[in-house]
């Protein structure tokens, strides 16, 4: 035992020694500095947790707006800024401007980058012209543009170092996700699940922009970078043609499985984690089969893109429950044993806790009690349907069939949580999750495919769960047991990214525009402030000049801005427009502002 352990340790150290030139060491070290926020999700583990503790549960009630910055752009502002030393990098929705602000010089704009993009990419973006943030590595800022261009900018000057086209908007592909710098590469996904794009994650060389590898979500083994023997699902090899044998004919070529969500990375296991989105079309009858590997958690080697393990959460999707949400990495004890975990809050309403080195499924539980399309995941290891969710016929749009309206499905297509990322605090060992509380009727019907045109095929009608009037909850979740610890109701879906801090405070933003602070242990609301527009951005924290700051982008939009702007249904007689019938447009209008808070001096 001891000899093997030593060998493993030496092996790990050797990797680090060889990788001395790799950006990830620099970046990993930078991510340990709590004063900075060097990557979109805070750190490689996607915890959105900060060690800063100047702001505490006791004093957060006193924070005030310290400064503000208008981005000069309207439409949905997702993501958040990066802070590296005295520099803050702020990005915007289309046209995807990037501002470099000097925090030591009264937030002066040191440089500004504005790409020239064909506005015809705008209508090819299904869910508003959002962008989830820039990445930093090797002295460069990486921007993933709406037209799929990945551009590397010199962090000091904003000059273009290199630029590469990652996809074809003419075929419906666009870019909204934040890239991730891993070792000597920058990884980026792609969008287009509503346009029949065969989606992928691509790795480019950090210095030159040369493509290193590309892993598709569906297709032949050599395209999806899966090895029939060494790539496993639930510990078993996936076998040859694991993807194409689950599609009819050539449908995988317009299969979707888009990768527009978050990427996380474990430097010691050398694995990158992310999820794939819905298969195209939304009409399940037009694509028989499990549609692998859509709706899948991938664990890939960042050096060559090879998949170590996979797990398809929603085989043969019937509801548009994209699997792209963040994969949060934590080390916690399960049944007295220290485990390397991956926790994922899926659109489908299930929160998964897995072993991130082997892909073993440990927990799969509903994180909203109203989730009804499944009675749960088969957790019996010897069962032939181990790891599959049991679908209830009543809520199966496949069983309902084409041109039949399947009613009362919870969650709605926007899921119990969409891309808005949760946070994890190692202090409380709780996850803080912004959730949606909405149900739907879904009617599939036949559609034809035209390159660059929407390939949807379903009619959707959304409303709050029966008997309830609120459309969102902000919850604290115990991933070890799969239980909700506390839950705060919100009138609208909570569509912002959460932030947890060592000060014992958790922050999130509401669609009406409130930046809220709650007690990490109890959920008690400690502070709120109405920013200029609805919040769909991710709350971020940093320290500069000895003060801790909380920063959040306001600018209503995203899918929430489409579905919730006018309210979900007609107000009920006598009740007026309250609760679930409230229209977001009664609370906020378009905006584009960064608001930064701190304790008064």
């Amino acid at each position: 035992m001891r000899k093997v352990l030593s060998a493993a340790c030496l092996g790990a150290m050797a990797t680090f020694a060889v990788g001395a030139a790799y950006a990830n060491e620099e970046l990993n070290k930078m991510a340990q500095n709590p004063k900075d926020w060097v990557m979109p999700a805070g750190d490689y583990a996607n915890t959105r947790y900060s060690k800063l503790n100047q702001i505490t549960a006791a004093n957060v009630g006193k924070i005030q707006v310290a400064w503000t910055f208008s981005t000069g752009v309207l439409r949905g502002h997702e993501g958040g800024p990066l802070i590296i030393g005295n520099m803050m990098y702020v990005h915007t929705p289309f046209p995807n401007k990037v501002y470099a602000l000097d925090l030591s010089q009264e937030n002066k704009i040191v440089w500004k980058y504005e790409p020239k993009q064909d506005p015809n990419v705008i209508p090819v973006m299904c869910c508003d012209t959002v962008n989830r943030g820039v990445a930093y590595g090797d002295g460069k800022i990486f921007l993933h543009q709406a037209d799929t261009t990945l551009v590397a900018l010199d962090a000091k000057t904003g000059q273009v170092a290199w630029s590469v086209k990652n996809g074809d908007p003419g075929k419906g592909a666009t870019g909204t996700s934040a890239p991730l710098v891993v070792k000597d590469k920058v990884l980026v996904g792609i969008s287009g699940g509503e346009f029949g794009v065969q989606c992928h994650v691509t790795a480019y060389d950090l210095k030159t922009g040369k493509q290193a590898w590309r892993a598709f979500s569906e297709g032949p083994d050599d395209q999806i970078l899966v090895d029939p023997v060494s790539t496993t699902e639930h510990g078993k090899p996936v076998g040859k043609d694991s993807s194409i044998k689950t599609w009819q004919g050539d449908q995988w070529k317009i299969g979707g499985g888009c990768t527009w969500g978050w990427l996380s990375y474990d430097p010691s296991l050398n694995l990158v984690y992310y999820g794939s989105g819905n298969p195209s079309t939304w009409n399940p009858k037009q694509r028989p089969g499990d549609n692998k590997w859509s709706m899948t958690v991938f664990a890939r080697n960042p050096d060559d893109g090879k998949a170590k393990w996979v797990y398809q959460m929603t085989p043969h999707d019937e509801w548009d429950y994209d699997g792209v949400n963040e994969m949060i990495l934590s080390d916690q004890q399960i049944n007295g044993t220290e485990r390397k975990l991956l926790t994922h809050f899926d659109r489908n309403g299930l929160a998964y806790t897995m072993d991130r080195s082997t892909g073993e499924l440990l927990v799969a539980e509903k994180y909203d009690p109203k989730v009804n399309w499944t009675s749960g995941v088969d957790m019996n290891k010897s069962s032939p349907t181990y790891g599959r969710p049991k679908v209830l016929d009543q809520y199966s749009t496949e069983k309902g069939g084409e041109d039949k309206n399947t009613k009362g499905i919870c969650p709605a297509a926007l899921g119990t949580k969409d891309e808005q990322p949760a946070a994890y605090s190692p202090d409380t060992q709780l996850f803080y999750v912004p959730t949606n509380h909405v149900c739907m009727d879904y009617e599939p019907f036949k559609v034809s495919y035209t390159a660059g045109q929407p390939y949807v095929g379903a009619t959707l009608s959304m409303y709050p769960p029966q008997g309830e009037s609120h459309m969102g909850n902000f919850i604290a979740w115990d991933g070890k047991t799969g239980k909700i610890v506390w839950s705060n109701k919100e009138q609208f879906s909570v569509w912002s990214g959460a932030l947890a801090t060592a000060g014992g405070v958790v922050f999130y933003g509401t669609l009406e525009g409130y930046l809220k602070a709650v007690d990490a242990k109890t959920g008690k609301e400690l502070y709120k402030f109405k920013t200029p527009s609805g919040i769909i951005g991710n709350v971020t924290t940093y320290e500069n000049g000895g003060r801790q700051y909380i920063a959040v982008l306001s600018g209503v939009g995203g899918w929430a801005g489409i579905g919730l702007a006018a309210g979900l249904t007609e107000p009920t007689e006598g009740l007026g427009a309250v609760g679930g019938y409230a229209a977001l447009s009664n609370y906020t209008a378009l905006g584009g502002t960064l608001t930064v808070f701190a304790l008064p001096q």
């Binding site: 506005p119 009727d441 034809s448 959707l460 009608s461 209503v556 939009g557 006018a566 447009s585 209008a589």
Partner: protein, 170 residues
């Protein structure tokens, strides 16, 4: 190609340059193969006393909530960035409506970045132009509320044949 021909043919038939006013009468005066027409000869809705809607209104609800909802919000109500079509059709005549859906629209300047794609080549929309117009007209005049029409007429046979031809064999 057939789609564009159909759309173009319809545009020629409709009187050009006429601006529809809110007072424009949407009342159905006759019907042909399940399609109701107003006194100008433009497609319109028909809602019976018991709430039964014509086929086009019902079909328009479904097609709207698949293809248009994604930007224009539910029930023609608008989103944070796309206008409420239940209001737009009040100041837009049938010909203009077809034109915008077929060719798209671009409003790109310092204040906004709004682009609507051209749907003329997309059979999932182009084969259902009348359905969409009729449904939105019904919403504009509040003949149909923010609900899925619960009762509807049957799909007319002539409609089913035209639909099959337009969508192509498959």
């Amino acid at each position: 190609m057939r789609i564009i021909w159909l759309v173009a043919a319809t545009l020629i038939l409709v009187a050009p340059g006429k601006v529809a006013l809110a007072a424009d009468d949407p009342k159905a005066v006759k019907s042909e193969d399940g399609k109701y027409l107003d006194k100008e000869g433009n497609p319109t809705f028909n809602v019976a006393a018991d709430g039964t809607v014509d086929w086009y209104t019902y079909s328009g609800f479904r097609r709207y909530h698949s293809e248009c909802h994604v930007c224009h919000g539910p029930d023609g109500m608008g989103s944070t960035y796309a206008p409420a079509l239940k209001d737009s059709v009040k100041t837009m005549n049938y010909g203009d409506f077809l034109g915008v859906v077929a060719s798209g629209r671009k409003n790109v300047n310092t204040a906004q970045e709004s682009v609507m794609p051209a749907f003329g080549d997309n059979p999932n929309v182009a084969c259902y132009m009348d359905d969409l117009y009729v449904y939105l007209r019904a919403r504009a005049y509040d003949a149909v509320g923010r609900v899925r029409p619960p009762k509807r007429e049957e799909k007319p046979e002539a409609y089913a044949e035209a639909e099959k031809a337009c969508m192509g064999a498959k």
